[in-house]
Symmetry: C2
Subunit: 347 residues, 2 copies
Amino acid sequence: MSGHPLISPVLPPMSVPDLAAVKSYLLDLQDRICAALAEEDGRASFVTDEWTREPSASSTPGLGGGGRTRILAEGAVFEKAGVAFSHVTGSQLPPSATAHRPELAGKPWVAMGVSLVIHPRNPRVPTSHANVRFFSTLPAASPDSSTPRPLGSSDPSAPPTWWFGGGFDLTPYYGYEEDCVHWHRTAREALAPFGDAYYPKFKKWCDDYFFLKHRGEPRGVGGVFFDDFSALGFERSFALLRAVGDAYVPAYRPIVARRKNAPTTVAERDWQLYRRGRYVEFNLVWDRGTLFGLQSGGRTESILMSLPPLVRWDYGRSPAPGSEEARLHTDFLRPRDWVDFGTAKDR
Amino acid sequence: MSGHPLISPVLPPMSVPDLAAVKSYLLDLQDRICAALAEEDGRASFVTDEWTREPSASSTPGLGGGGRTRILAEGAVFEKAGVAFSHVTGSQLPPSATAHRPELAGKPWVAMGVSLVIHPRNPRVPTSHANVRFFSTLPAASPDSSTPRPLGSSDPSAPPTWWFGGGFDLTPYYGYEEDCVHWHRTAREALAPFGDAYYPKFKKWCDDYFFLKHRGEPRGVGGVFFDDFSALGFERSFALLRAVGDAYVPAYRPIVARRKNAPTTVAERDWQLYRRGRYVEFNLVWDRGTLFGLQSGGRTESILMSLPPLVRWDYGRSPAPGSEEARLHTDFLRPRDWVDFGTAKDR
């Protein structure tokens, strides 16, 4: 493992980030994901809501930006699917956002990403979430002329600090081993060109992050998650981000295709609505991105686009022992090694 | 106004709290509220779930307690009604709970209260919430022998620090002026024996607290809210708490009675489910009690008993201008003086 990029990066993370290239990739990714999901749905299509906000209109001074939120509602397959691109800038990074990097506090910054949550109608189809994002302090020698100029930077010649983050995770209502294996295998294969160590690391990160501490329960069967990633230098780190973003549709669509017409019952629908409550609990109580967005004056409708269309809560509900619902808990909602680690070259 | 208890307490808050009397009142209040609501429902009854937890079973060391959670589900009038008594003790007060009183950090403590949220079925009946609670550090010269002895207190002879908190607030889906006036008038009259200044003060506190900052929107039409209250000494402060607790049923029940059989439509039901999403957002994102409970290892099912039975989220939804739904926003979901201040003696 010596020389592995996780341990000893071949390229130092000092190469200059290409903001325009990242933005262009993200917009194209949003287009491709929406096209694939609409095709899989077969009935409904995405409606686009473009928005901009001037910094003066935000409750956080200097926070501005825009985005392209796309929503498919009441489809044949997808009850609600939201795929959002956003591009946000700030004149001063708040200390709360930089607890582990105090030297960045107060700097101007840019963040962009695509975030999506898909809530299918059939309880046999799992909910999925994916996100790819990029963050950088400014000034950057940016070819993107729409990027704001630096404001009050103490050292305008300092190189920008930047990183990528992202991942995707799956939340079934009824568990299927083959779906989980396919999901994780697709993630592992996407990361394999960058070294065998990434999938195990990002898989564990996902298990750790998407966990409801107040329930002692994972949100779902995981996937991959990473943040603060610049270890491969800009070009290769960006390639890793693209590999993850591009893998989402091949990971999810086959699962949707083979479950979307499964026979289902009213009781299964009820279980789905109840389990969706866990999704709400995670996003509103624990998800750092959601909380930071809501508390810092982000665009509420785009942030809460992730919430399910219909949800129920029941006091003290637990499934009958041995039922398929109970097996979701015992067999699926626990960290499991769905695919072998380090076998990427064998695929 | 000179000599008013808010400004110059007649009795200093040093009288010794009677924990057994508080507990007895709270249990009786829970009984009376449940009986009144079950009678108003006419079909369903409350199911009692008694629970205890040893300190060793908690994720927060030294946190133990028990409670009596009562739930009415799928009633004729109430779709879900939860009325919970809890009695929790801790061996060390966490610093996060005492930010404004650092001298209390690390002390053993006791907290008890009754908390309720009622979600009616008919969209013309508002949701209501009430809470009465008591907090004290230990050791206390407590006549309640079930109270744990102090652990590691630095000054065992120091008098306990204690306070009351509570209130009730109303969240309509369709606005009725007369309901809001009745609700607030009942609150004002309950507080009048303690001085004219309490209702305006606690009414504003309620408006300030039950506010969804990410929506720029009040949760409902308010009511009264207070915390950290010991200004009248133990006996009179406890009397004020009882006045608030006892006023809840007279404030809510007549509103339920006159709206519960109102004709309603599928579209109104849909609006109710959508508006219930705001209740979830407030409780999970902003409510300090909920968040502290979930993050400190409280009993999840009792804490989340407040969540509505069925909820929907829709992207970018807003009611048609001039509709009754739009008037909820324009005429009711803004701070208003529903009754005159300082006219308690005129009633």
